[in-house]
């Protein structure tokens, strides 16, 4: 099986230094957003999707597993958080925890089922499982079917951070995103991450070296699903609703697209990809279904000519790992 990325070199101190510099620049740029006049809702939404794409990238870029059903974690965490906040009246921090736990439980079950097959079958299974969940959510009463859960109270995080103020909410989302990003960064550079990369390169060989690859893949799946759930829980506070669109297969496709555009298996690619795709949707909103056509066109163009993605191409140009 040929590799899908070319960042197979082990991390060197220099590469790590480069990546930390870029990380600090990224964090600083994001921190000054409220003073730039950019529409904060747009940036918050993009940050949620960026975290989601990073979580997805952990599986595909480092484990070689293409999940075509990651929207199920986004949607499940969204529904759990929304229900906890609105119906049970829990505080925001508990609401987030409920959502993350929901996604975590789901990822344990779906991971156990889907890692039983490799490669292309894995993608089809995750897609089918998310469709199964879509139909369940369509019918169960707690999701309110087509209407979704609307008008979710934002409340006060830890009792003193008023999330209904856009600036406060923005920094909360930003901190959540950066924390999730650093956790993923730490994971891919840990011994666990190295084993994961070896499974991507050659699973048979990893097995022959004595690694129980199924356990590594399951753990990566759970971590990815849980972090995707965290993104979904944050998104509830931004969008103040939880709906079926978040569980639909087209959402899973968008997550794949964001990561592909930014660069599969790059550290910063999914973030860039998420901002590009969300911005595109924002500006082309008036063009109706042409957005779908353009997204399809980007898929085709990326696969045929631009497989490294934006960040991957830049990294390749400067011979750096990003």
């Amino acid at each position: 099986m040929t590799s899908i990325t070319d960042t197979t070199l082990p991390i060197t101190p220099r590469a790590m230094r480069d990546e930390m510099i870029v990380f600090v620049i990224m964090a600083a740029l994001l921190a000054i957003v409220p003073w730039t006049g950019l529409y904060p809702f747009f940036v918050m939404q993009a940050l949620c999707f960026a975290l989601l794409a990073c979580a997805f990238n952990l599986l595909i870029g480092y484990g070689g597993l293409l999940s075509f059903g990651h929207a199920m974690f986004l949607g499940t965490a969204g529904y759990c958080s929304a229900h906890a906040l609105k119906v049970w009246g829990l505080s925001p921090e508990l609401g987030i925890i409920v959502g993350v736990l929901g996604a975590c439980a789901l990822s344990i079950i779906t991971g156990y089922i889907s890692i039983r097959r490799q490669g292309i079958y894995f993608s089809m299974i995750t897609l089918a499982l998310s469709q199964l969940l879509y139909f369940i959510y369509l019918q169960t009463p707690f999701t309110h079917g087509e209407d979704g859960i609307q008008g979710i109270p934002q409340g006060h995080l830890f009792g003193f951070l008023d999330l209904s103020k856009p600036t406060v909410l923005y920094y909360v989302v930003l901190v959540g995103f950066l924390a999730g990003f650093l956790l993923i960064y730490r994971t891919i550079n840990s011994p666990f991450g190295e084993v994961l990369k070896s499974i991507r390169e050659n699973e048979q060989r990893a097995i022959s070296l004595g690694y129980k690859t199924d356990q590594y893949k399951l753990l990566a799946f759970i971590l990815s699903g849980t972090l995707a759930g965290f993104a979904g829980a944050l998104k509830v506070f931004v969008a103040q609703n939880a709906s079926l669109t978040d569980v639909h297969w087209s959402m899973s496709g968008e997550i794949v697209l964001m990561t592909l555009v930014g660069g599969l298996g790059t550290v910063f690619g999914p973030v860039v990809g998420a901002f590009v795709i969300i911005a595109m949707q924002q500006y082309l909103a008036g063009f109706g279904q042409w957005v779908t056509v353009i997204q399809g066109g980007i898929f085709v163009a990326c696969v045929l000519t631009f497989r490294r993605g934006v960040v991957g191409e830049i990294a390749h140009l400067f011979k750096r790992s990003l």
């Binding site: 490799q118 079958y121 993608s123 299974i125 056509v293």
Partner: protein
Amino acid sequence: MQALYAQLLVGLINGSFYALLSLGLAVIFGMLNIINFAHGALYMMGAFCAYFLLNIAGLGYWWALLLAPIAVGIFGMILERTLLQWLTGLDHLYGLLLTFGIALIVQGVFQNYFGSSGLPYAIPEQLRGGMNLGFMFLPVYRGWVVIFSLVICLATWFLIERTRLGAYLRAATENPTLVRAFGINVPRMITLTYGLGVGLAALAGVLSAPINQVRPLMGADLIIVVFAVVVIGGMGSIMGSIITGFALGVIEGLTKYFYPEASNTVVFVLMVLVLLVKPTGLTGRAA
């Protein structure tokens, strides 16, 4: 009992679409190593082709049954020549992503011009009405769909498993380099195989046009069910795909009768069960 038989018939019809589509997916995967995500979109194009033939060219159902698979098959072969052929040697996942992109483009374009609502397509005159079988009332058109799909499926099986052309095809699946050394034009065979698989999808589209209406997204959800069918049956055997397709259709029909709430999900639930018991699928080899 009437309702049970009626649901069984609906199940058989859905089963024939599953069989035709998963058959095409299996044939394409064998030759191109690509899971064709655009299969649902091409199925939809088959139905639209029938609609255009009737409303623009005035050609009826029987012409559509012949011409739509050819037209969509040619479209598929152009796709293969211009886009898919560049994927040779790359990871399987890129094939899935590329064909997903193609599906989005095709479905998006049709949605722009035709919205999301269904366009009617009348049942041809010769197949209207019904027969009283004693235990149930059988609409002729529905009986026709089941029998005709079965014939096409078996013909495809015969073509691949029992003819010389099929033997070349199977040999090229195993070892394309060696088959080329014997002077057989493998790239052309790959193009024709993709055309064949796509043609089968378009044929299913024409068959379904009078039953399900012609809609831009008619294939979008169907293809995901067909993926589950493929996971259950495995892509190793042609006959396996046919039998699994029909069997799952029937099970879905039975579910509609006994527990309608689960009729959308039963195929996916079965997929989970099969994965837990026999991860390689019912007929498949390890992937």
